[in-house]
Amino acid sequence: MATLTSNETREFLVEKILKNHSNIFDKGTLEQLSIIRRTKVVKPVIYIGMGTCGLIAGADKTLKAVEKYLTDHHLKGDVVRVGCLGLCSSEPLLDVQLPGKARVSFHHATEDKVEDLLNSVFHHTLLTEKLLGQFTSDTLEKWPGIPVIEQLPYFAKQHRIILRNAGIISPFLIDDYLANGGYKSLYKTVLNYTSDKVCEIVDQSELRGRGGGGFLTGKKWLITLGTGSDKKYLVCNADESDPGAFMNRAIIEADPHRIIEGIAIASYAIGANDAYIYVRSDYKQSLIILENAIRQAKEYGMIGENIFGSGFNLSIQIRQGAGAFVCGEETALIASIEGRRGMPQAKPPYPAEKGLFGYPTIVNNVETLANIPSILENGPSWFKSVGTKESRGTKVFSIAGMSLHTGFIEIPMGMTLSEIVNPIAGGVKNGKLLKAVQLGGPSGVCIPKQNLETSIGYETMHEIESSIGLGGLIILDEDACMVSLAKYFMEFLQKESCGKCIPCREGTRRMLQILEEVTRRPKDETTHETLERFKGVVELENLAEVIRDTSLCGLGQNASNPVLSSLKWFRDEFEEHIFDRKCQAGTCHNLRTFFIETEVCNGCNICQKKCPENAIIGSIKLPHFIIESKCTGCGICFNSCKFNAIYFK
């Protein structure tokens, strides 16, 4: 079959695939489609995971190495840049698909490995050391004895709706998305449904906002639909700023057209003709991909004037956020889009009634909008069949921290946290024990081991005084110090507070001060300061309560969560810091002093040279000593000792 030019491909995809209601195709069309989908290839195709995680791991160098390999060996092959499959800790991922054979994937494919890996594939003897597995396929010949990716522990328990295309298709090509059934929901929606009907379908699906609030999306849309304003706006919130959360970025980088389709449907539903995507400016790759995707969608007529001849117009603009945590709050985000300082406004009035430039505005998170095309495609009852009664559908989590695998996953609501930790994340690495799971970023909570059997859902999480938040999940091992962690989040919030309301601006500063006093060097403390420290600790919960009660926006209201939850579940550890002035984990520098095991020390003298405080004495080849009063606990000697002679108390 002859290859199509780009115009012909577009014509084919729009006219024959998108506009075909029945989804029944003749043989020729199917054949053509399978070529575009790359289920049938005539020359080798090499896929490289080029999300931000891949790029950091060196995917661009891998790409160059692959291109060089192909020219050097005079091979004709296609190189396709794809998003992340979800296994960020195994990037760069390199997939190869030979004609007639199943697509096979390698992990940690850095540039120096490319030659060996590709040689092994082309010689049909796969290098098992870096092998991740092969993708299932009905039509292609399987590699014998190679595990199937979908059955790996990391993927087996996932339920991928939003991430269906992640790592599989190219985020740079709208053709890939169209060939896999993309924009069909939009086509169906604008031609067959009224705005009310769309809102009704989403309302019936009981989809809840994935940005953290968990408000019913359909209900919110209906409020804006009912305002009767002549102008409305839709804003896609991609200002993901929780430390440890990166799933929105991954969704954008893996499947941008799904979000554009979601935005288009949502805009149609509420009657908006202008939509904004608010992206952090530090998400460079996301911006490149989104800009490209919007341009392609416009060229193909998926957005723009008179979409599919329905009379519905939509323009989508990108706004870059300068990286303020508070701009994830919808009113602050709106202020930022308007060009004002990103500070939250008092609610009510809610943006759904009076938002951007004073008009009704819906602000939806990336993940919420990414759910919309599938809901419209399969109907509300299909969506309700996944998840639990209170929390329908799936949730995307990003896993960071001390687990074996880190990355992002999509699981059905109702799964327990311990299932995520093991088998999905592969448990804690380096043989350490699990201590807790931090969920929801700086506004989130620490969930101790004993509560990990709770099923994930908006209500169930609430019962253990927690919340799903945006979906950032950090796995903490036994070496984590809960006081340090609470201090870290408090410092983050204190710096990111917009400064508008007193409790958040001044209160977080005082809470941080108290936590800093708890981890202050005991030697430097005067009697008066010790008294102040105890007073502070007594005050901590009191202060937390007032901050939660009186803060203007969610940032302040939830600012005390990390501290309160750690205090509740890890009170012993706090008390150890406060009363014994000890930090078991050794993370709090000021609470540790180092000692040298004289029997082990061979007098190599390295520690003495490196000590910035001149706290180590000793002659060469004789055991050294640390002067306790001079030691600041920095740990440089500990890290430099090759004989494990240094320990701390």
């Binding site: 917009c498 007193i502 001044e506 500063r509 009191n542 009660d549 009186t550």
Partner: protein, 573 residues
């Protein structure tokens, strides 16, 4: 639509659209506030006004939260009181706590709140912040350490004055009220109106004090200190000494100033009469040539600096006479004191103004040699009160000092400069006389009176009817200019004052003034116009005399040099 709400277990009727605070104000329940400003959109920033509402898990700010049916509100429950107390304690944690030395002591919103909350010890100890005080501007001093970030100054600067010279910068505990590039206020678009000082609850914003310079001059035997005072000073200074504003206070003020040691006491209203004469001639000349119309008044220095910065293309329309303060200074230095045998360089002219921008104006407008000032020191009404107290002058036991017929005769037209619309009223009286040779039949123009930010009137002079407008507050002028540019409106003369309602509400007036004070000041000025014998500038005997002896006829070349001003665009960031 009306409905009932339950406030502290009492049923109260409320209307849809009202905020909780509106209802509380109506029924006389006081909740403390820091960021709330009547007449402004609430920001809900300070959280002091929080109340407990059944069914809402957090406390809600009463200033911005609308009442809804059957709401159950508790305004002073233990939970609310605790929250408010902690909030004030948090503010105090990083406050310099130098109340003894603070200019605002006794008039400070934060001090009041700490008292109200019964705070008797410092609960949280923040680090003392070493923040730079911005003294770069001639009029306003900013001390960020005392700032509690209520944001009132930002809102006044944006919503009433319309220049947005300040805004919040930085994040978290590093948040400050700052300027462009965090430079001094002198290099900003600030027009020095001082309204920010008026709304600041603490001592973070103050005028740049000239008290010491004045005291030095008074004690320097080589200098000949003289003083002039704006017409609003006698109208408002009585408030500080518990004396009702009336005609007598003028003579008491004169007596006080003499007692302090000023050798001659001038009334700026007299200079205003000169401004009227020159401006009237200016207008008639423009009318004859059909150019540079509408004429826009230039006696408000804030307004002039606004135009120079934001809309220089309208500068030709600005009337050219100097402001009354500067005319007074020029006349004193060039004629009045010299004819009394004093050398110009020895005369030290102090001026008392209800205004902070006048400090800047005096600084910029100098004599030809660029070093000698026409007005050497400008103090605000507040500073004068401090000097009177410092020097132990007992206002109530003073013997009234009569008017010096040579120097301080005034017409009530000049006196009306103190209120928006008054300048225009006085100006029209003289224009009418100059154009027709007759006095106006009705001197009082009611359309130009009262507390309103946009006042318009049609005045018939000879065969022509002129449409005039008196505007206060820059955004209102912007609207008017838009109207003119879109040719929806046509005016002959526009009087502009930057502060809402004019100088009676100026940035140098008594702190914590309210609308009652404004009305009293306004009444005092209108009363003078009713009672005074000389009601028009051109009949002021001093004016007539000086035009005879020293000046040429109004609008002439010689007067242009002496009484008018050349304008240039200033540099701002």
């Amino acid at each position: 639509m009306q409905f009932d709400v339950d406030i502290n277990n009492q049923l109260v009727t409320a209307k849809r659209g009202e905020t909780i605070k509106n209802v509380l104000d109506r029924i006389g329940i006081h909740v403390p506030t820091l960021c709330y400003l009547p007449g402004f959109s609430p920001t809900g920033g300070c959280r002091m006004c929080v109340v407990e509402v059944d069914g809402i898990s957090e406390l809600v700010p009463s200033c911005s939260h609308p009442v809804t049916e059957w709401m159950k509100i508790k305004t002073h429950s233990p939970r609310v009181l605790k929250a408010r107390k902690v909030l004030v304690e948090l503010l105090l944690a990083s406050h310099p706590e130098d109340c003894l030395y603070c200019e605002r002591s006794g008039l400070c919103g934060l001090q009041d709140l700490a008292g109200e909350m019964n705070i008797r010890e410092r609960k949280y100890h923040g680090k003392r912040q070493n923040l730079q005080i911005d003294k770069a501007c001639q009029s306003i001093v900013r001390d960020p350490a005392k700032c509690i970030l209520c944001g009132r100054c930002i809102r006044v600067c944006d919503e009433v004055i319309g220049v947005s010279a300040i805004d919040m910068i930085g994040r978290g505990s590093e948040t400050r009220i700052g300027t462009t590039h965090n430079k001094g206020l002198n290099a900003q678009t600030c027009i020095r109106c001082g309204q920010c000082i008026m709304v600041c609850p603490t001592g973070a914003l103050t005028e740049k004090s000239n008290i010491q310079a004045v005291l030095n001059a008074l004690n320097n035997p080589e200098l000949f200190p003289v003083i002039q005072f704006s017409p609003t000073v006698p109208a408002s200074i009585g408030e500080d000494f518990n004396i009702r504003a009336s005609k007598d206070i003028l003579n008491l003020l004169r007596a006080a100033l003499k007692k302090i040691g000023f050798r001659q006491v001038f009334d700026t209203s007299m200079a205003a009469d000169f401004t009227i004469m020159e401006e009237a001639a200016d207008f008639i000349e423009r009318l004859g040539k059909h150019e540079k119309l509408p004429m826009i008044t230039s006696c408000c220095p804030s307004w002039v600096s606004y135009l120079e910065t934001f809309n220089p293309k309208l500068l030709p329309n600005l009337s050219t006479p100097a402001s009354p303060q500067q005319i007074m200074g020029r006349l004193i230095k060039n004629y009045i004191s010299t004819s009394a045998g004093q050398k110009a360089e020895n005369v030290f002219v102090v001026s008392v103004m209800p205004c902070t921008a006048k400090k800047q104006e005096a600084f910029l407008d100098r004599m030809k040699d660029e070093t000698t000032m026409n007005v050497d020191a400008v103090i605000t009404t507040r500073e004068l009160v401090r000097i009177i107290r410092l020097l132990g002058v007992d206002f109530s036991s003073l013997e009234p000092e009569p008017i010096d017929p040579h120097y301080s005769m005034r017409s009530s037209s000049g006196n009306l400069f103190g209120i928006s619309g008054g300048h225009l009223e006085g100006l029209l009286r003289t224009i009418h006389f100059m154009m027709t040779g007759q006095e106006m039949s009705m001197l009082k123009i009611n359309d130009l009176r009262g507390l309103k930010n946009r006042k318009e009137a049609r005045v018939r002079i000879g065969k022509t009817t002129f449409k005039v407008a008196a505007i206060s507050g820059i955004p209102n002028v912007k609207a008017l200019i838009d109207d003119i540019e879109a040719q929806r409106e046509e005016f002959s003369i526009i009087e502009v004052m930057a502060c809402s309602n004019g100088c009676i509400n100026g940035g140098g007036q008594k702190l914590n003034s309210d609308e009652k004070n404004l009305k009293a000041r306004m009444k005092a000025l209108y009363d003078v116009d009713d009672e005074e014998m000389i009601k028009v500038a051109h009949k002021n005997p001093v004016v007539v005399d000086l035009y005879d002896k020293f000046l040429a006829k109004p609008g002439s070349e010689r007067n242009r040099e002496l009484l008018h001003i050349q304008r240039k665009t200033p540099d701002t960031l």
